[in-house]
Point group: none
Chain length 300, copies 2
DNA sequence: GATCATTGTTCTAATAATTAGAACATATTA
DNA sequence: TAATATGTTCTAATTATTAGAACAATGATC
């Protein structure tokens, strides 16, 4: 007699359908039969009394209402999962999962070494890493979508209850390839902002560590292009695929010859980056991880 | 096999238990047997592997973890119910959210009265207001970042598929304080444009209405300074904090004595401002809002 | 302190919901 | 045209949820 026809399960189903592209693939992912998916969708449509999919032959496309439920449903799913985690943390003092948002990294190897060490000592804690771009990190921290920010550029927002530790960022420069079709426009200060929004971000997405899950990028509008390591990132940007932060040392040659053009964003002292987390986050796992990251930082 | 043990139903159950004070009363409200409630709670506790209630004889008290799930669970329930409502309205031509870009307003009170009335009648439609400055409004409309422009200066771009209605703008003059350090430079027509960009905008940001969200300003490079009302705005600009449009009547004295200097932008007939939206935007909410705004306009 | 009503748990059986699998129509690809 | 894949429907089977009775524990009332 639940007055509310929307259930967590059906939201997970819709999410899987959208991610995998079809009822059949979604069924596979959820370990169910296709018919179960079909019935679940039908039931929701019936109870809401609206169409969520427009049946175009064998392929189904979301209606506007369907898109709305999908989009907001994902928020609900996310909130619900985190709620379960938080409840466990309250009960045990240890969080079952730590979400880390990475905005820039000086050394992927060093960072993942710390994470790896942590996971060896505390194998029950899951680590969930998501890439943040264009200062999306601070917002994600504020909204509780991540527990820890790594490499976010200053200034650190004040009066928000954050604890922050400056880390060496190397010298990262945001660049675009000179031959990129939008290069000229993005350098024009007047249009920069709107053009920036259209540019693809090239992001390192190291998948070689197990025990670590990945969330989708936190910046929703801009598309992302994922590469495995710094070399690939340099070449991808060189090829005009998109933009991204690169270590100055590595690309000085390209900068000199004008193949790479630096983008004029983040006027504030861009050499400073921060680790940051909420002061009121008392998770033991978070403390352990930040302790290790800071220790590694000062070792060098 | 659902990895997420929290369901909408069990949240409703917890909510009822807390509101009614006992499993038995909750069962009554939900038209279930007490045993069903008991099993539902047990199942959740088992799957989360934490205790939600501390059994003190016949009376059960929530544990801290239980209180957390109850509190956040209520948010989730609320969001979910609203989502169902919104989806239904989207399916019938109502948009879930209307983004309004404000470029100038003659009377904040009148405008927000209309918005408030609209929200009372259509509480499921979200209103998102962002401040536009320096003709950023037309671009935002074109790019679909706002659905409705309020108070944007003419001329209305043609051949773009916009519908526009002229509104009385009073007589607003863009000014800067004479004592502002960049006042001299900005008055030099040659450098005006680049100097303008560096100047802070003083913007009224009325936060006294609930049910309305705010986006960041659409002009990103220039910083904004937010004030609560027109009086504060005048004093802020007077103090040299930034620039902005002010009603001529209110500042005639300052203009005469030279404390305020008018900026020479928008040579076109600046007394005309417009409501504008895309013709192909058929949203019923947008229509309702524009109808009301126009009606209010002609009432005077 | 005895009685009585109320509560939450457990058991069993019944009911309702979800699901798998096969058959089919339709659409896409080679 | 054949071959593959998709989504719907049907039926039967499996699961999950629920009601109702019996019970122990608690608190209230006299």
């Amino acid at each position: 007699m639940s007055r509310n026809p929307i259930s967590i399960e059906v939201l997970e189903t819709l999410d899987a359908i959208d991610r995998r592209g079809s009822f059949a693939k979604a069924a596979e992912e959820l370990n169910k039969a296709t018919s179960a998916i079909s019935y679940a969708v039908q039931k929701l449509e019936e109870q809401l009394d609206i169409a969520l999919f427009q049946r175009l032959g064998r392929r189904s496309v979301l209606t506007p209402a369907g898109r709305l439920i999908l989009a907001e449903g994902r928020d609900i799913l996310h909130t619900t999962r985190r709620l379960a985690d938080k409840a466990k943390e309250v009960a045990t003092g240890w969080e079952p999962r730590i979400s880390i948002g990475i905005e820039s990294l000086q050394s992927y190897t060093d960072f993942f070494q710390v994470i790896n060490g942590f996971l060896l000592d505390f194998p029950t804690v899951e680590i969930d890493i998501s890439e943040c771009v264009l200062n999306g990190g601070w917002e994600a921290l504020e909204q509780g979508r991540v527990d820890l920010l790594v490499g976010s550029p200053g200034p650190v927002p004040v009066q928000k209850g954050y604890r922050s530790v400056a880390i060496d960022r190397g010298e990262l420069v945001p660049v675009i390839a000179a031959k990129h079709e939008l290069a000229k426009q993005v350098l024009n200060k007047q249009y920069m902002d709107s053009v920036l929004r259209q540019l693809r971000r090239v992001v390192i997405h190291d998948t070689s560590f197990s025990g670590i899950t990945r969330s989708e990028g936190l910046s929703s509008d801009g598309q992302m292009f994922y590469v495995q390591n710094m070399d690939q990132k340099i070449y991808a940007i060189l090829a005009g695929i998109g933009i991204g932060n690169l270590p100055k040392k590595r690309i000085q040659g390209y900068l000199d010859e004008g193949t790479f053009v630096p983008l004029d964003i983040q006027q504030k002292d861009s050499s400073e980056a921060f680790l940051a987390w909420k002061i009121n986050n008392k998770g033991k796992g978070l403390k352990a991880i930040t302790d290790r990251l800071i220790a590694q930082q000062s070792d060098k």
